[in-house]
């Protein structure tokens, strides 16, 4: 039978489904909630005691010991930065804060960033190439003024971990704010809808997940005002400003939620033409929606 568990974590709604007759299904689903809590406690930039916050606070003070979890996710983020030539960049924290996203999103008001954050981003910019990660020593070093945000990639990574964990017990699906991954024994695929970014009561498409993942990046989700100007959370590292590409929303299909999350963000930042080439080069499929609502696809996006 199908078991479902819903909770909130990482400032978003999380749901997990497990198809099993085991009486331990509830225990397994509770373990997923604990996993999200552990990752958030270690990788959130909004938790002062998290490993990521400690690393950011120690920028400019040389190599710092970090947990294996932080090391793994940071390594994935730097790998994605290299593959995208810096279009995906985890070191945009200061730009995010300067844009006004300097606290958990539900606390972001319309007053924008604090003056110290605006000065900070002007001085540091972004720079994934300046992060030193030492696998042998289990340390990371940030130059002074540089900060890391692992928000999106940490969410996708946690979804992957949760789906793999549940998949040991049966077919499973995990959804964290639209980052969705199926796991477990192959079988009938899970149908997942793609929400219309301009009308949340409508769906644009339905994709089937069978041991793969889907994620969506959009400038329509987390928006706020700064100095009367509309802002959003997708910072283009090339400008240090919120993205102004020709795309409003991108949904990506990839083998893992981590990859889908990265591809959706990179394609949105690159724009339709270059972005679709990026996705095709990686064998991922994307559905792109521009600001007028026009759709285009690349890769093997299901018709």
């Amino acid at each position: 039978m199908l078991h479902e568990h819903r909770f909130r974590a990482m400032n978003t709604a999380v749901a997990a489904w497990l198809w099993t007759d085991s009486p331990l299904a509830g225990v397994r689903l509770d373990e997923v909630e604990r996993l999200f809590a552990q990752v958030e406690a270690e990788l959130s930039r909004f938790r002062p005691q998290s490993g990521l916050s400690r690393l950011n606070a120690a920028a400019g003070r040389g190599p710092q010991p970090i947990s294996s979890m932080l090391h793994e996710v940071l390594a994935l983020a730097l790998q994605a930065a290299r593959a995208s030539h810096g279009v995906f960049d985890p070191t945009v924290l200061n730009a995010l804060q300067a844009a006004g996203y300097d606290r958990s999103f539900e606390l972001v008001g319309t007053d924008g960033a604090s003056p110290q954050h605006r000065q900070k981003v002007a001085a540091s910019g972004s720079g994934w190439q300046r992060v030193l990660l030492d696998a042998a020593e289990g340390t990371a070093a940030l130059p002074a003024g540089l900060g890391i945000d692992l928000g999106g990639i940490a969410k996708g990574w946690t979804v992957d971990q949760a789906a793999r964990h549940l998949g040991q017990w049966g077919p499973a699906l995990v959804d964290a704010g639209g980052d969705i991954r199926s796991g477990g024994a192959p079988g009938e695929p899970w149908p997942v809808a793609v929400q219309d970014p301009f009308d949340e009561t409508r769906d644009l498409a339905v994709v089937s997940l069978a041991d793969n993942a889907v994620a969506t990046s959009s400038i329509g989700g987390r928006r706020w005002q700064r100095d009367g100007q509309p802002m959003h959370h997708l910072i283009d590292p090339r400008t240090g400003q919120p993205s102004c590409s020709d795309l409003h929303t991108v949904t990506a299909l990839a083998p893992t939620a981590t990859e889908a999350e990265i591809t959706a963000k990179v394609v949105l930042l690159l724009g339709r033409q270059k972005g679709q080439r990026y996705a095709e080069k990686r064998g991922h499929s994307v559905l792109c929606i521009d600001h007028a609502g026009q759709q285009s696809t690349a890769g093997h996006w299901p018709a």
Binding site: T12, W19, G177, P186, V192, V194, Q195, E200, G220, T251
Partner: protein, 111 residues
Amino acid sequence: MTEQVRPRSGSGLPSSGGGMAWKSGVLSASLGVVLLGWGLLARDSVADNTIPAPLQPQIIVVRVPVQRWPGSGQAVVASQSLAQRQPAAITMAPLPQKPVFQQPITRTRGS
């Protein structure tokens, strides 16, 4: 008084040496036909024993009770050949791992 019975010489046919030869010929011919027929029958019988007719297995498809998963709409049907004279071991097709959802279970959206 003893009456000496004389053997009868036939049924009115002339009893001569040429008549005996005719009878021997008929008997020989009859015997030949019988032996020939026996031989042919024996040969057919041997042929029947050495070249058996091919056995066609009798294929009977057994439809076992249809098993459905809740909401799946998928049937599982197994078949078996009775000519194999095997015990009623039925090979089941792989069962679906979970039901087929008719509607999306969740939605991806920008966050």
